[in-house]
């Protein structure tokens, strides 16, 4: 005798979640075969226009350049930082951890905005200070360049990359290095010939992941459009045609191309991983690697951290504060000091009303949706032994390769397609669904990791003791996952609030979000208000980020530990 178990709820949740993930790509593919937003036609017209565009090769080259340039900058900072945190006696570890966690909370487009105010050729503050703007002849700095995009994107991706590299460095078996040293191999040679080759898979993983992030990132491109297109810009321009309707066909086709680029990178990485498995050493007891004494290099390490801090936090935040205080952008001077006022902060507050409500709604909706479906998916993948599990796992693994801008286009297209029956197009709800889908992949990845840490026997014990699978799910699995869920909720809420890409692409009049408000204010030249609202946002997000970090305690486990 078996009673029907409500566990089907979990399976259904997982299936719905997977459907959304599939839709986030499928909608884009469907769109790419339409013309003029008509869904009763099937045409290759968009692909023809995209592929025979004489500018395409150059666009692709620039996109690749953006990807490689960005990860180079990222790794130049993230590798030493991860090493300092994982393997040395660096004195400011806690400070660096906190700084990097807080940095995650400063939205990329706000950093981009600050840099435009500092380095744009016609009126950038630095150019003005140096007396060399494009009006006076030649500008000292011109931020509207691909290399500036690489630098800025690279700088903001450092914390995430460093956090990903730390486990790889910590897991390196210390006795492999010691064996070389005792066998007479000098420290530098040991690093070059033993440590680097063994770290290669980890570093490559981070490189590939952030290559994908770099080519799909829209925060910087939206604000600092470089001369000549990159793929995300091609998509954005197709959707925001100056004359006439959004060109969903072209946007879709370019999106498919962008996805192919990302998926290609990820598949390359998967293949490499399979090769790298043979590096795994059998048996034997591993040893925690000891901490390297920095000694006289301590100053150099501190200096390198300071360089990053000034570039990503100090300079942008100071710029925001200054710009928020003066009525129009001008370098600090005695006359400028006379015009300092809190007007921007008050004006920003006046604008905040509706966008703030909308943002809170989108945050809450995204968190609820992403967490609900991600929990179901995690359970199915790690616990159910269902035949669905490996497919779900693979799909969730590949989902981050779907660029945000592609997800946005896909849901716009779907929104139009079903508008007659379900009028979600142009509402907050559609933004919420798109964002929830995007976060779903992120959530599932982190939650799977947490679920695998929980010994399955804890649930098996309940099961064998006579509890149904559903009761085991609600009574054992969920409570044990609570810390992971709470952390994921904070992170998703934060990422949802700071996202510009989805709202910017999907926003139709009437539902502004705070991120779009900032973007619009800065586009309209209301710089003081834009900077003030940006500062409000940063303060709230930093609080969220630091709370999340405090909760996990994962940031700095046993810095000096030694078995």
């Amino acid at each position: 005798m078996t009673r029907p178990s409500p566990i089907w709820i979990v399976f259904t949740g997982a299936l719905i979640g997977l459907t959304f993930v599939v839709l986030s790509l499928a909608g884009n593919v469907i769109g790419s075969f339409t013309s003029e937003a008509r869904f009763d036609t099937f045409t290759f017209d968009a692909y023809r226009r995209l592929l025979f565009d004489p500018g395409l090769p150059a666009t692709l080259m620039r996109t690749l350049g953006l990807g490689f340039g960005t990860i180079t900058v990222t790794l130049v900072f993230a590798l030493p930082f991860a090493w300092l945190l994982a393997r040395t006696d660096f004195r400011w570890k806690t400070g660096l951890f906190t700084l990097m966690a807080a940095k995650l909370a400063i939205p990329g487009f706000i950093t981009a905005m600050a840099y435009v105010w500092l380095f744009n050729p016609s009126a950038g503050l630095i150019n003005e200070l140096a007396g060399r703007t494009s009006y006076t002849g030649d500008a000292l700095f011109d931020v509207y360049q691909l290399r500036w995009l690489c630098l800025l994107q690279g700088l903001v991706l450092v914390p995430g990359a460093a956090f990903m590299l730390i486990p790889a460095l910590r897991n390196l078996d210390g006795s492999l290095e010691e064996a070389a040293r005792v066998a007479g191999v000098p420290a530098m040679t040991t690093f070059r010939r033993i440590v680097l080759p063994l770290l290669a898979p980890g570093v490559l993983a981070v490189g590939v992941f952030y290559f994908v992030v770099a080519v799909e990132m829209f925060d910087f491109v939206a604000i600092i459009a470089p001369p000549g297109d990159v793929l995300v810009l091609t998509i954005y321009e197709a959707l925001n045609a100056v004359d006439g309707l959004p060109d969903y066909g072209l946007a879709g086709a370019a999106g498919v191309l962008l996805f192919a680029l990302s998926a290609g990178a990820i598949l390359f990485y998967v293949r490499f991983l399979r090769q790298a498995r043979k590096f795994a050493v059998l048996g034997g007891k591993r040893r925690d690697p000891g901490l390297v004494r920095l000694g006289k290099w301590h100053r150099a390490a501190t200096a390198w951290v300071l360089v990053w801090m000034v570039l990503t936090v100090g300079l942008p935040v100071l710029t925001l504060i200054w710009v928020a205080l003066v009525p129009f952008i001008q370098p600090p001077s005695m006359t400028a000091m006379d015009s300092v006022s809190l007007f921007g902060f008050l004006d920003g507050l006046a604008y905040l009303g509706e966008p703030l409500t909308n943002t809170v709604i989108v945050m809450a909706g995204t968190v609820i949706m992403a967490l609900t479906f991600a929990t179901c998916l995690t359970w199915v993948v790690t616990r159910s032994r269902s035949r669905l599990a490996p497919y779900a796992d693979a799909l969730v693994f590949l989902a981050p390769a779907v660029p945000a801008i592609v997800t946005a286009t896909a849901f716009q297209v779907m929104g139009i397609a079903v508008y007659e029956w379900l009028p979600l197009y142009g509402t907050l709800w559609l933004i919420m669904v798109a964002m929830g889908t995007r976060m779903l992949a992120y959530c599932t990845r982190t939650m799977n990791a947490a679920a695998l840490q929980i010994h399955p026997e804890l649930e098996e014990a309940a099961w064998v003791a006579g509890l149904s699978r559903w009761r085991t799910f609600t009574g054992v699995f969920l409570p044990l996952m609570a810390p992971a869920l709470f952390y994921a909720a904070l992170m998703v809420g934060m990422l949802a609030a700071r996202d510009l890409t989805l709202p910017l692409i999907m926003n139709s009049a009437g539902t502004p979000l705070v991120s779009v408000l900032i973007f619009d204010l800065q586009t309209n030249g209301e710089t003081a208000s834009a900077a003030a609202v940006a500062l409000y946002m940063i303060v709230v997000l930093v609080i969220l980020a630091l709370t999340a970090r405090k909760l996990t305690g994962m940031a700095e486990p046993g810095l000096e530990s030694r078995s």
Binding site: L176, V182, A183, G184, T189, K285
Partner: protein
């Protein structure tokens, strides 16, 4: 060959500072296999790592063949790569991105003790052949079994022709049969090469079989140094007696002591026992009367001195294949004897055993503080 003088080493555990070695001094003669024996956490591996230069002592000196390797007082510290020694790791520490040949050749090509390029190949093959793994030279180390990896680790160390070989629990990850096989092979190899070896283990059988001399360690101290027979038959205290082989330890007090012989009063009677060299037992002090289960004569012969016999009841009987172990009980004291497997004795039967004074030992209890450290 090696002198270690009042060596103290510490490491950080979270916010605490743990003293892993507390003023250890010892000397190791040239060509000896010197074993550091003790339970986990006793400091034996830390001592080995200090010799290798992988830990920095906070106090004390280490010299090898008269060369100062480390002296905390004068801030002298020779880096690991510049020390004339080689080490075999517990984890084998095979470099997974290199073949067997490359694992052995890498230090010879890239290290401080590099040799002429044209000699590398011959040196590597010689040592691989010596250890019987010449046919594995081109294999990836990750495809090797534990025993094979262990030999590659040893080959890598021997190829450097070190003055001192350090081995950190080299056999502990192998299955039992292989361990026993390798013990005698390793021992004869070390003696053939006349190589000074410092060998760390927590396995007392391995220590007794392989060592020329053994240092028994506990909680950062060296408790006793001696040849295997001395360590086994004349332990200095309770810790050594308990750690090296099975021993019955019956609590009592010293009635009389002179010149290596003690009279110990226990609940079972008063017995004569030996004491280790250098141990003094003041009259009235608490101590243990100890003997090994296999050293008791079962049953006691008719003509045995009644002063050194114990009458007891059999409370437990355990068949262990080559022998039988009996748990005995007398006046509330439990102890064990072992005998040939043919003995016919049931549970509950009475038994008289003889403990020859030459095979009995009187030991001091271990200092409380030391055992609490662990």
């Amino acid at each position: 060959m090696i002198t270690v003088d009042s060596l103290t080493a510490q490491y950080r555990l979270g916010r605490e500072t743990v003293t892993a070695l507390d003023g250890v001094s010892l000397e190791i003669g040239a060509g000896q296999v010197f074993v550091l024996l003790g339970p986990s956490g006793c400091g034996k591996t830390t001592l080995l790592r200090c010799l290798a230069g992988l830990e920095t002592p906070v106090e004390g000196r280490i010299t090898i063949g008269g060369d100062m390797l480390s002296d905390a007082a004068s801030d002298t510290f020779i880096a690991p790569e510049d020390r004339p020694l080689a080490m075999v790791f517990q984890s084998y520490a095979m470099w997974p991105h290199m073949s067997v040949f490359e694992n052995v050749a890498f230090p010879l090509k890239a290290g401080r003790r590099r040799i002429a390029a044209h000699e590398v190949k011959a040196r590597v093959h010689d040592v691989l052949d010596l250890l019987g793994i010449g046919h594995l030279a081109d294999r990836s180390v990750t495809t090797l079994s534990g025993g094979q990896q262990q030999r590659v680790g040893l080959a890598r160390a021997l190829a450097l022709q070190p003055r001192v070989l350090l081995m950190d629990e080299p056999l502990s990850n192998l299955d039992f049969r292989l361990q026993v096989e390798l013990r005698s092979q390793l021992r004869s190899l070390m003696h053939d090469l006349n190589l000074t070896t410092v060998h760390v283990t927590h396995n007392q059988a391995e220590a007794l079989e392989m060592g020329d001399r053994i240092a028994v360690m506990d909680a950062g101290h060296v408790v006793q140094i001696g040849d295997p027979e001395t360590i086994y038959h004349r332990p200095v205290d309770e810790h050594v007696a308990r750690f090296v082989g099975d021993m019955n330890l019956i609590p009592g007090s010293v009635k009389r002591w002179s010149d290596g012989t003690a009279l110990v009063e226990t609940a079972l009677g008063t017995f004569t026992a030996m004491t280790a060299d250098g141990v003094t037992l003041p009259e009235g002090a608490t101590c243990y009367f100890g003997f090994r289960p296999a050293d008791a004569v079962v049953p006691a012969p008719e003509d045995a001195d009644p002063e050194s016999c114990i009458s007891a009841k059999v409370s437990d009987r355990r068949f262990q294949g080559d022998r039988l172990v009996f748990g005995l009980s007398s006046r509330g004291v439990e102890f064990e004897v072992s005998t040939h497997h043919s003995a016919r004795l049931g549970i509950g039967s009475d038994l008289r055993v003889h403990v020859p004074p030459d095979n009995a030992i009187a030991v001091k209890p271990s200092p409380q503080a030391r055992s609490e450290d662990r």
